[in-house]
Symmetry: C2
């Protein structure tokens, strides 16, 4: 098959006819599928159902310290939950705060606290004329939405193969005092699926920020979310690396069990230096008496320890891997060598990042929708929902059943071809 | 027994000798008791253990709408939880948002949002030179701590027999645009235990605030927390009353199941007008994808409906009532007619409010502590921990076992007598 870019107007027009017919066939099937969000599927939820049986009415609900988990108290989490989540986050339990059910909520609260009260004695951001945040793009829409909501200017830095463009990051962070943070998903990144290299992590740890209250927002959402047993990305641990580099307070690390146990009923954490923890607890003790300790205990009793958790993640992988592979197989079969698309092949996480020809993503997503398949809105991976190239589409293979997923992926390839053909025709001045 | 105030110096000195000996006896017992916080006791926690069995691995975790409660989604709470909590809060389910495990957290977030983004389009408080809040005193320390933390000036208004001094409230609210809210515990108030009269609630609903963004923070923490079946306080419902009075958006109502099911593992709510809800959701959707729906479902399955919840509250009452009565019996027996103390006799809630002679509360609490009984710090019921009269002590009878409680109450009366005698001697110029 020749690349579409090498086809003549006539060939393209012929192709367009075929593709339009194929697209019509999909429309006639009246599909109703959703590949829009990184939601676990029912099979994945089912593997955690044992969690519902570990704390019944005959269970002892006392933690290691003798605290009755059913009553008020314990601001930072019960010791065994800190131990478990510390192991998951690769930090000592002492560097951890356990929160409620959502790491997004923890990140929001972290921005909000910095805005209202400042970071470790620095001026609250609400008193500053300008505050900026670096957004690695494509990235996670909900990150960008938080900073945007607080009137913080989102500054884009491109994601490269091995992490953000660190030349740009270093230049921005060291020269501009109004840059207060950077949103990162360092491992199996949302949406690209790739991970930061050792070199990138080291350069992060060695940043020389102009702002004393600059913090790296290290959202390690997919820290143990591998697809393969024998081929996993491993990151240098950023807290330890920052300490080594003389920047012990420069990072907040976030994670949760949302995609380990149940989304919405998991436990979320923040890991950071003792100085930062002390600063944060001043606020936290005003905000709450404590988070849900029964649910913390439930997680500990179910997983046992980090090995139990990793074993559990293998079950998730067994469900997710075939889905990723099915989508990748279809993309490969249908789009390889056509010169109209590129995509990532992640070894973990929840997403495949897909790039169309410039100016095609919105149209592709719209065509998919009109044939009954909801994709993540094109542009969603950029601040304000604006992808300057209109090229990136996030594919979330986790939720639909395998058969539906294949249909959706086939439809996607038809839409990509059709929209690309029309784009190429238009470029050549042909009337559609 | 004569009132202490009528005793001669000699009589007081004799009394002091006796009381000092009695106090010494308590010290020799090396007590270690705690009456400091409104924590449910173990027996109370035990009555909710059935909740641990309603959602096991064979349970259907789907809500009324067909939503799988184990997965992401549902920002405002599952319908059956809104129904249940609406009944508890005496508002339609549509006026409700279900949050996480802590109403304190909801109140903090409400203040924080008003501070960062303003209330329904009004100027964010962080952009104003001055923001004030009315604190009904004595009141709940954690309320006052939130506004203080945000640099908001806490303005005290005294709690009278039937609610706050409404002449003062009306005057302040209508004349000062910087007054943005008032902290209330309208039913079985913390710490006085009394409830707002119909007249007071009506005057609240008819306030004419100078500030468009003035809101009543109506913390209905003890809405169904009666001690007696046949003698209960009933309040006029404030949301409906505000609507009737042409102030539909003027109130935020808060509640949780912290003292119904498990503190720290319950569900918390905010009830308010649809306009306010719309305003709040703009923020909430940035902060989280949703709260813990499994725990919402657990509560619904356990209680069934509001009748089940009320039945459950009778079990709490059966445990708490004897404790309240035991303390009140001792206070009555030991202190009645002495002219050195007054106290409330609540029909619900978690506290008895106790007043010493002016200038004695700190000393009494300190003496109790030195004999091994921890009371709520004197002054805690006032903003900044400063009771101008140094007279109020909050008694929390719920947590200690009945026998311990009696010992603690006996000790309290000895300390009150001793400190009062010394105060009266000093007033009369005697050397101690």
């Amino acid at each position: 098959m020749k690349a579409y870019t090498e086809l003549s107007v006539e060939e393209l027009q012929e192709l367009r006819k075929d593709l339009t017919a194929k697209y019509k066939e999909f429309q006639d099937r009246e599909l109703n599928l959703n590949m829009s969000r990184g939601k676990p599927c029912v099979d994945q939820l089912d593997i955690s159902m044992g969690m519902m049986d570990v704390l019944t009415s005959d269970a002892d609900l006392t933690d290691e310290d003798g605290t009755d988990c059913r009553n008020y108290g314990v601001l930072d989490g019960i010791p065994e939950a800190k131990e478990l989540m510390g192991a998951m986050m690769e930090v000592p339990a002492d560097n951890l705060l356990i929160y409620g059910n959502s790491s997004l909520n923890v990140m929001y609260d972290t921005i909000s606290r910095s805005y209202t009260h400042g970071v470790m004695g620095q001026t609250p951001w609400c008193k500053l004329d300008q505050v900026k945040f670096i957004c690695v793009v494509p990235g996670y829409d909900r990150h960008f939405a938080i900073t945007q909501y607080f009137g913080i200017e989102n500054v884009c830095v491109p994601m490269l193969e091995d992490g953000p463009d660190m030349d740009m990051v270093e230049q921005l962070v060291s020269s501009d005092e109004s840059i207060k943070g950077i949103w990162c998903v360092p491992k199996y990144s949302n949406p690209t699926g790739n991970s930061y290299s050792d070199e990138v992590v080291r350069r992060f740890a060695r940043l020389k920020p102009a702002a004393k209250d600059f913090r790296i927002y290290w959202d390690n959402a997919y820290t143990i979310h591998h697809l393969y047993d024998d081929d996993q990305d491993q990151l240098i641990e950023i807290l330890a690396e920052c300490k080594k580099a003389g920047n012990p307070d420069m990072v907040y690390k976030f994670a949760s069990t949302s995609k380990v146990s149940f989304p919405g009923s998991g436990i979320a954490c923040l890991a950071t230096s003792l100085n930062n923890l002390e600063d944060i607890k001043k606020q936290l003790k005003i905000q709450t008496i404590g988070h849900d300790k029964v649910n913390q205990l439930r997680h500990v009793r179910f997983f046992g320890d980090i090995n139990g958790m990793k074993e559990h993640m293998r079950k998730h992988a067994d469900i997710l891997r075939p889905k990723f592979e099915a989508v990748l197989e279809i993309l490969d079969r249908e789009l390889s060598g056509l010169g109209i698309a590129t995509w990532t092949k992640p070894k973990g996480g929840y997403f495949i990042s897909f790039n169309t020809l410039d100016g095609c993503a919105k149209q592709v997503v719209s065509r998919c929708a009109k044939a009954g398949v909801v994709m993540t809105p094109a542009g969603a991976t950029y601040p304000g929902g604006k992808d300057p190239k209109d090229a990136n589409i996030r594919i979330a293979p986790s939720f639909p059943p395998a058969e539906d997923l294949k249909v959706a992926a086939e439809l996607l390839t038809v839409c990509v071809k059709l929209v690309s053909v029309e784009k190429l025709l238009t470029r050549q001045g042909a009337t559609l």
